[in-house]
């Protein structure tokens, strides 16, 4: 019974990580690839950690699994967020009709401006000269 439960946990986790890899390969845009890899990959690795902890079964293994899942839950979104910010600042445009973030993001102080100021500056390196609000 426990073997069936852990097997199903590991199988669904591996399936989610396969979905993450397929999304990483097939999505047309860097940001879509990033969100596919981050979200599906996180849930997949959490399920695999749970399967391993339950399979090993001892208290030490369960504590290891708990700490590892806490670690993954903390670090994977942070890594994806940092990479997305770095990619946006390095000039990779998202595949959207209108870039709502253009001109509102200060690259040095990482402050957002939400007023309706004219966001006329072209995206790229010249946004650095803008003053924060």
């Amino acid at each position: 019974m426990i073997a069936l439960v852990t097997g199903l946990l590991a199988f669904s986790g591996a399936l989610l990580m396969l979905i993450a890899a397929v999304g990483l390969l097939r999505m047309p845009d860097f940001y879509m690839r990033m969100q596919a890899a981050a979200k599906a990959g996180t849930l997949g690795i959490l399920l695999i950690v749970a399967a391993t902890g339950i399979t090993l079964g001892s208290l030490s293994a369960l504590l290891h699994a708990f700490l590892a899942s806490l670690f993954f839950l903390l670090t994977t979104p942070i890594a994806a967020h940092l990479l997305g910010r770095a990619a946006y600042l390095s000039g990779i445009r998202p595949m959207v009709l209108e870039d709502e973030l253009a001109g509102r993001y200060h690259p040095a102080t990482h402050e957002l401006r939400s007023n309706n100021a004219p966001a006329a500056s072209t995206p790229g390196s010249d946004r650095i000269e803008e003053t924060p609000a």
Partner: protein
């Protein structure tokens, strides 16, 4: 606490199938590393590759009943996270110059 370091291997076919699926996902992520058009694409593919390897290690620890492999997996995940953060700050700093 009595804890076996090495036990009898668990023969569950679902665990083996999960490991095969993880290897297939690893191949797909490697394709994205090779032909990613930009550096952040390659870095996010490397991040997913690292977590796939961590998943493989965890399943190997579950099959072999080895708790030490879980420690190795946690350390590998920590190093991969630090590497991703370092790559992100490198990309950001190289843009600002």
């Amino acid at each position: 606490m009595t804890e076996r370091l090495v036990g009898l291997p668990v023969s569950s076919p679902l665990l083996t199938i999960a490991m095969v699926i993880l290897v297939a996902a690893l191949l797909l992520a490697l394709v994205r590393i090779v032909r990613g058009p930009t550096i952040p694409d390659r870095v996010i593919a490397l991040d997913l590759t690292a977590s796939l390897v961590v998943g493989l290690l965890l399943l190997l620890g579950a099959v072999l009943q080895l708790l030490a492999i879980v420690d190795i997996a946690i350390v590998l995940a920590l190093i991969a996270f630090l590497g991703t953060v370092a790559f992100a700050s490198l990309i950001e700093r190289r843009t600002r110059e």
